[in-house]
Symmetry: D2
Subunit: 341 residues, 4 copies
């Protein structure tokens, strides 16, 4: 078989580990040949390829990012896009595709399978918000980086008797906030799944100061205050209802300083959460995903993605995987609340 591989969406530690495992097992166990498609779905759309042999994947396991490049191109929003992919794939003698990506990339994979192409998906998102799998690779790395940052910020908070707000990624799901907040010993964790009461948050922070400790607040970028009224002017929200101008973290730090009378500072971790070498956990998960994805391709089982269930790698229909965002359930958030205040 001749197989195309592509990576789509935001970059994520572990992408290269998947690519390496797919190629290594494909070549050595099954005798497959591989073609690398550049920049996500843009690659098969425009016929942008690069060689992808054993030597190309020799040294990439520990490297962040993706040697294939990435983009957010969606062939279904391009005139004649699907036909061009079909044509390019046929012309290159490609029998099947391995598509590594998040909701959008896998959504395209699903539709292309419905439209007759053989695609196997590998779930990827640092946000961990894909249904059908216990965890996605990249998440553990993001949580680790955020936790290290919280560890560092704690000593600043304590030395200066300040509240420190740490804004982490998570537009629609609070997984990074929840896990890094638990791991970093945060005193408040705010997630998009539950609107927060700024008065309650200020009370927790104040209680913490009263005990002579310095509060750490971890907030997902997508977290929002419950109908703030005076606190938050409507024109400070953008079209999606998100706080504008600097994000929720900066707004929150300003509010807390005003309400508690204690200095408050905000750090927005941003892109450092998604780059660099993957943790050991993510390297193992990504490697196992790659090994099992190429098995599925070899067996001709398309329209599925690989997924983690407990300690097993299984296959689930792409349809199921992309149906619904996996958000933090109330009972997991409740677990963390014992540490608030």
């Amino acid at each position: 078989m001749r197989i195309g591989v592509l990576t789509g969406g935001g970059d994520c530690p572990g992408l290269n580990a998947v690519i390496r495992a797919v190629v290594r097992k494909g070549v050595e166990t099954y005798g497959h040949e591989f073609v690398g498609y550049r920049d996500g779905w843009k690659g098969p759309l425009e016929g942008l390829t690069r060689p992808l042999g054993l030597e190309d994947v020799e040294d990439i396991l520990a490297r962040g990012g993706t040697i294939l490049g990435s983009s957010r191109t969606n062939p279904y929003t391009v005139d004649g896009g699907v036909d061009r992919i079909r044509e390019n794939v046929r012309a290159a003698g490609i029998d099947a595709l391995v598509a590594i990506g998040g909701e959008d990339t896998l959504g395209v994979a699903k539709r292309l399978t419905d439209d007759g192409l053989g695609v196997v998906g590998v779930p990827k998102t640092i946000d961990n918000d894909l249904s059908g799998t216990d965890y996605t690779f990249g998440f553990d790395t993001a949580v680790s980086i955020a936790t290290e940052a919280i560890d560092r910020l704690r000593t600043t908070a304590e030395s200066h008797h300040r509240a420190l707000v740490v804004e982490v990624m998570g537009r629609h799901a609070g997984w990074i906030a929840l896990h890094s907040g638990l791991a970093g010993g945060a005193n408040v964790i705010l997630v998009p799944e539950r609107r927060f009461d700024i008065d309650q948050v200020a009370a927790w922070v104040k209680h913490r100061f009263d005990q002579e400790y310095a509060p750490i607040i971890v907030v997902a970028e997508g977290a929002q205050p419950s109908d703030g009224g005076e606190a938050l002017q409507s024109d400070e929200l953008d079209a999606f209802g998100h706080v504008r101008l600097g994000g929720i973290g900066i707004w929150l730090a300003a509010e807390l300083e005003q309400r508690t009378g204690h200095e408050s500072r905000c750090v927005v971790l941003g892109h450092i959460q998604r780059g660099g070498t993957p943790t050991a956990y993510d390297r193992v998960l990504a490697t196992r995903f790659g090994l099992h994805a190429i098995d599925a391709v070899h067996e001709g089982e398309f329209g599925v993605m690989v997924a983690l269930r407990g300690t097993d790698i299984v296959r689930v229909p792409l349809a199921e995987a992309t149906a619904e965002l996996k958000t933090v359930p109330p009972e997991r958030y409740a677990e963390a609340e014992v540490f608030f205040g």
Copy 2:
């Protein structure tokens, strides 16, 4: 309720995170009081206690080791040991115990429950070889440290055209070797579950040198060669059939140097695998174990340990958990073999 907490066996990153979560939820949610028992089962045996209130656990989440100390004391091998524990526990007004430990510690917990004490167990081992739970905390930290070491050793191997043997922990189970070997991109992984053929290992190493790469071999301390005959003199094995004098890693490096004609070096990682601050993964797992253990205590469900199943924390009977060592299954080892040579 008044609850005693103890940690037994080898130290393990995450012990303090469990203790903190148990105390925090016990005090704040249930109004429990806590007593810290020192040095594993030696604590209740000899009545060695220390205070364990909210302020004692305030700052310990990220700290390795255990503030309670540890030991391998087994009250069932001490004359009248169980009676002394029962007496000391009653005298201290203790209603229940939370025992955090591995096979031995939990084995005692099980027998004490049978003998009438209320004990809830929390599984702990960097080796990940406890049945009944997907993972134990401490394992991810050990794998991370071993993987970082492999990353570092790779550049030495390549610059000097040497084989590098990395001996990791795992006397009876190869989990650390398997995961760190996968994460570090090892060219051979040797585990106690499968005796290895030294000729085969030398052939893989030689093949690797022939391709102008430098081979990395990860070997669990408990791995052993298959019927060694000439290769390994019987007097080089200790009473348990383990290679004596410096361990399997040093023997292996010497053998590989002789058989391949290439310089080979060994590094024995030893205790650095079990100390220091836990990874974010282990902090979250340990914290969740602690929260659920105190729930079990509060509900009076004794003789169980908490366990990870997928993303859920569940309770399993201690009997089940300590019945059998969880070793690396053949299919997991086979997954890794595609990367050998």
Copy 3:
């Protein structure tokens, strides 16, 4: 002797290492007694103390921040401030002070010495902008953290064909930008000491994209464009001539995106550069500073600060140390320019 110790100004990795070394050598070698003053000069001003014996410094070497707390209080801006300090110090039986801090804290130390108190200074600033010493502790940690961040951001830049702007600390001096930029392999480094030409920066970035690499730009928070005219409206500058609203990094990323036609993102590292455990380098430097500071106190040589010269710790007059900011000299910046573009 009875000696007071205080830490002033922004927190800095290594403060606790100094405190430990001062106390350890003072007690064990000289038989001194110590009093900890809380929160910088606010401590002696308001008589806020805490115990500072061997057991208080036992476990603090590796901890970021300062166990004494910090503030920016300046007794010379408080009515009768100096008299109150003199009185509090006398009442507490204090013979001398060790003041650990940056320009402001040491400036006060100098004036207090002139006003008759015995003070020895220890230079501290993550910015490395104090004259009289080759390096200050905290700087190496800040550079390390910034370099790790750049390493991580590089893979994101490459995978997405984006320019990444990293804004680091340094309001008046570009040392952190220079060193982290060199260590991280930045393609442009911008410092406050040299106004930059935005057209030149855009040209370098474009050249880099043309070679199919992804550019990394490291910019000190105090860097400024040369009189930008149209590029930068005057009302976007704050009272100090700094770019307002999100800082220079965010402005720069927007400019580069517009001028090069390539996506550009900015990460502002902020407070994570100054918190957390110090590097080994900073722990050694801080420890040696502490050991030599207490020697100076013991010998009654006041009005000096300890300083690094080559590999030696020497004493320099506080007057000299606080006279002039140590900025990046043109020849050091020129060294780095070979890597631009």
Copy 4:
């Protein structure tokens, strides 16, 4: 000019950073051409080369080891070795050599300069024992890795009430032991420069246990007991007077366990101290060394090596640099003694 570059001796974090800086400045500033010689002096001896252009050094700054390979080949111990080098260098049109290495490599560089070749040296050793320079690159990385290991081992020591012996590199000089011991808060530091009294060491360790702390002992591999008599049988020493069979660390742990009655363990860090990505400090130092070395080549000043003096990079005669080993002076060791016991 056409310039050959080689790296000799043990690998060392920062070698690639030097190579990159030499090539980058040589090509861009001076228009030089470069040839990479493989495996130290073996390269010019046997005419083993590899291309060394801008694209070859693009991505190597942060990588440990050396892309040129290394060896301990000494042309002066090979019949006609120098003539063969002279011939190979002339045949390749090479005008000058940049030799990056330690005492041995630079010793050859000196003799070749005397024999008429144009060589500029760059000092390299993780041991920091080269005269003529304040520090060598690689040392800071080695100290950082050893310090991290000590940080981790401390929690194991404390949890198990054990003494932990950490054996670090340093056959003839104790710099790594001194700096990592200071940075890690060791309770005893043993270096080759000062024979130790095992009774005194045991007394310090015991004192530490009596205070209910767990002792950490850092020992350089080349440290030796003062004439031990009964303690150390002569047949346990190898030809160089070093303790045989497992090294000084293992011997020391056994002695301490016997003499103090407390469990003692040893970890030998070995090769992980010299591999992997360099610290930011070493990347900056190595980069500056490379930039200044190519300046010396360009100016035709041969027979020198670059060196760090304070914050300046200077040139010193190779003769001076290789004359004498730079060992830990008594006053630096005395500084550390205040922390013993």
